[in-house]
Amino acid sequence: MQTKKIDYTQINGWGVDADPENDPTYPMQHREDAPPRDIFYDRPTQQPVDVEVLHSNERPDVTAVFGTTLPPSGLSGAIRRFAFKYSENEYKHWLPLIFADRVDVVEGVLKDLAHGHVPNIFAEKGYPMEWKYNRTAFVTKMATIAAITVGTVLLLNSGKDKKKAKYARGYRGK
C-alpha cells in the first residue's frame, strides 16, 4: 500500500501550541505555575440528603452535591445496596451492579405494564433507522433470529413429547 505524507507547513495553526516544556511525565500544567498542593479546602455547602444516596466506601461521606433522580428501589435497589458494601477494588462491587442493571430492565418493563403502557420495543431500539438505511442486513438478521427461536422451541417441544411417550410406556408397565 502506498503511503503519502502530508505537507504540514500548509496547515492552519501548525505548531501554535507546541511546547517543549510539555513533559509527558507531568500532567496538564506547568510546574512553575502549580499552586501549592494543599489537601485542605473549604468544602462546598452540603446539598440536603433527602433521598437515599449510595456512596462508595472509599470515601467517608456523601459528596457536597449529588444526583437525586433515581434512588435505589425494588430488587435491583437491594442488589445495589449489597454492592456498595464493597470497595471499588472488589468484583463484589461491580458484578452485582451489572446484575442489578439487568434486573432493573425487567422491573422497568413490569412497571410500564403496570401503568398500562406496552413498550414499543421496535421504536425504542431505533429499528426504523435499520429499516431505512440497512434493510437487507436487518431483514437477514431478524430472519435468522426468528429461525433460531422457532428451531429452539421445536427442539424443546420434541424433547417434551419424547419424555411424555416414555412416561406413558413406563406407566403401561413396558
Binding site: 500500500m1 503511503t3 505524507k5 502530508i6 504540514y8 496547515i11 492552519n12 495553526g13 501548525w14 505548531g15 501550541d17 507546541a18 511546547d19 510539555n22 513533559d23 509527558p24 511525565t25 500532567p27 496538564m28 499552586p35 494543599d38 479546602y41 462546598p44 455547602t45 446539598q47 444516596v53 449510595l54 456512596h55 462508595s56 472509599e58 470515601r59 459528596t63 452535591v65 449529588f66 444526583g67 433522580t69 433515581l70 456498595f84 471499588e88 468484583y91 461491580w94 451492579l97 451489572i98 442489578a100 442493571d101 432493573d104 430492565v105 422497568g108 418493563v109 420495543i121 421504536a123 425504542e124 431500539k125 431505533g126 426504523p128 433507522m129 435499520e130 431505512k132 438505511y133 440497512n134
Partner: protein
C-alpha cells in the same frame, strides 16, 4: 419536559419527565438548545457501564440558556447562553485546584475512580444529562462558560467534550515538533485529536479505523494519512513498516471499550463483559508506539479489568497517560482556536434530529448508518 430515557441495553425513548429543580445554592437550571449523542454514550446504550439505572437521561454534551440560578450563583445570570462542560466540578477541591476538573472529589458520591459526568450512570454521579429540554447544572459558578457573541451554537456544543477531549488527547501525548502521531479511531474524538496533533507541531499524523467513510472524512478534515485496518494486515506491523521500523512517537487511543478488530477482545470485552470493554485499540497502541514513546488514552473503558500487554509497556519504557478531559481548563484556548478559524468543530456534524427521535439517533450513530459521524439533538423549544 421532554427528555431521553434509558430503558435497557439498546433501548431508549423520548418521554415527559418532571422539570429539574434547584437542589443546591450553586445550582442553575439550563434550557437546552443543543445536545449531542457522544461515542461514550454508546457504552451506556449498550449496557456496559455498571449502575446505569433504567429511567436515566443521558447527555453530557449540551449548551443552553440559563433560566434559573441558585442563591450563591454569581458568575452567570439568567439569560446567559452557556457552554456546559461535561464534568461536574466544584472548583475548590484538591484535584480541581490542580486544574483536574475531570477528577473533582466533591461531585460523585458513587465512585472515587471517576469524577461526575452529566448523564453518565450512577457510577459517574447519578446526574441526569442534557438530552432533554432542561437540565440541572450543579456548581454553576465553575463549569458553565458564557458563549462568546457570534459563536455558532453548533460550534459551542462541540466545545463541551469532543474538541477538548481531542485536544487533551494530543496534549497528553506530549507531542514535540516533528513527532509522528498515530490515532486509533476516526470517530468524532479521533478526528479532533488528529486535527489538534498539528497544533502541537506533529510532523506526521496517521489515523486507523475500519469505516471507509470516516477515514475519507478525517483524511480531508485533519488532514492526515488514514488507513483501513481491515485492509492492511497486522496493523502494528503496518505502522512499524511505515515508520522506519521504529513505531510512532505518540499513540492516541480514541476508541475505548467498543473496539472492533480482535475476536477474543470482542467476545470477552463486548459480548460477555468478562473484560471492561474490548481493549483492542489499547493493545495495538502499546505495541505500535516507539520505545520510550507515549500512549495517550481518551477512549473510555469500564471500571474492572482489561487484557493489555502491560509487560511490553514496561519493557519498552512507555509513558501511559489517560484522563477524563478537564474541559474548563481548556476552554479559553479552544474558544480562541475556534474564533480564529484554526478549528472548525461544526464540520463534523452530519445529522440533526428532533429530540422526539432520540431512539433513531442512537441507532443511527451506534450502527454507523447513513455515514453518520456526529448527530445532534434539538429540543422542541428550539427552532429547527
Amino acid at each position: 419536559m421532554l427528555a431521553m430515557e434509558y430503558r435497557g441495553p439498546k433501548r431508549v425513548r423520548a418521554v415527559q419527565k418532571p422539570m429539574p429543580e434547584i437542589k443546591h445554592p450553586e445550582d442553575a437550571i439550563v434550557r437546552v438548545t443543543r445536545s449531542c449523542i457522544c461515542g461514550s454514550d454508546l457504552h451506556l446504550y449498550n449496557g456496559n457501564v455498571p449502575d446505569t439505572r433504567v429511567g436515566s437521561t443521558f447527555g453530557h454534551e449540551f449548551v443552553g440558556e440559563v433560566v434559573e440560578i441558585g442563591s450563591d450563583v454569581t458568575n452567570i445570570k439568567v439569560g446567559d447562553n452557556v457552554i456546559v462542560p461535561f464534568n461536574v466540578a466544584c472548583g475548590r477541591c484538591y484535584f480541581c485546584k490542580q486544574g483536574m476538573f475531570g477528577n473533582c472529589h466533591q461531585s460523585n458520591s458513587m465512585a472515587t475512580a471517576v469524577g461526575a459526568i452529566f448523564g453518565y450512570s450512577h457510577t459517574a454521579g447519578g446526574f441526569d444529562g442534557g438530552q432533554a429540554e432542561y437540565a440541572r447544572v450543579p456548581y454553576a459558578n465553575v463549569g458553565p462558560t458564557v458563549i462568546p457573541p457570534g459563536m455558532d451554537l453548533d460550534d459551542a456544543v462541540l466545545l463541551t467534550d469532543v474538541v477538548p477531549t481531542g485536544y487533551q488527547a494530543a496534549e497528553m501525548a506530549g507531542i514535540q515538533k516533528g513527532d509522528t502521531v498515530l490515532v486509533f479511531g476516526a470517530g468524532p474524538v479521533g478526528i479532533m485529536a488528529a486535527r489538534c496533533a498539528w497544533l502541537f507541531g506533529a510532523g506526521r499524523v496517521i489515523v486507523l479505523d475500519k469505516e471507509d467513510y470516516r477515514l475519507e472524512f478525517v483524511r480531508n478534515y485533519a488532514p492526515c494519512e488514514a488507513y483501513n485496518f481491515e485492509e492492511i494486515g497486522d496493523p502494528v506491523l503496518f505502522i512499524k513498516k511505515i515508520t522506519d521500523w521504529l513505531g510512532a512517537d505518540c499513540v492516541i487511543d480514541a476508541v475505548g471499550a467498543e473496539a472492533a478488530g480482535n475476536a477474543l477482545q470482542t467476545i470477552t470485552g463486548r459480548k460477555t463483559l468478562l473484560q471492561a470493554g474490548s481493549a483492542t485499540a489499547l493493545h495495538w497502541a502499546i505495541n505500535a508506539v516507539k520505545k520510550g514513546g507515549v500512549v495517550s488514552i481518551v477512549g473510555v473503558y469500564g471500571p474492572t479489568d482489561n487484557l493489555v500487554p502491560i509487560g511490553n509497556a514496561m519493557n519498552k519504557g512507555l509513558t501511559i497517560r489517560g484522563n477524563q478531559t478537564s474541559v474548563k481548563r481548556l476552554l479559553p484556548r479552544l474558544i480562541d482556536h475556534v474564533q480564529s478559524g484554526r478549528l472548525n468543530p461544526k464540520a463534523i456534524i452530519t445529522h440533526r434530529l428532533p429530540m422526539e427521535e432520540v431512539a433513531d439517533g442512537y441507532r443511527l450513530f451506534s450502527a454507523k448508518l447513513d455515514n453518520c459521524i456526529k448527530p445532534i439533538l434539538l429540543p422542541p423549544t428550539v427552532t429547527r
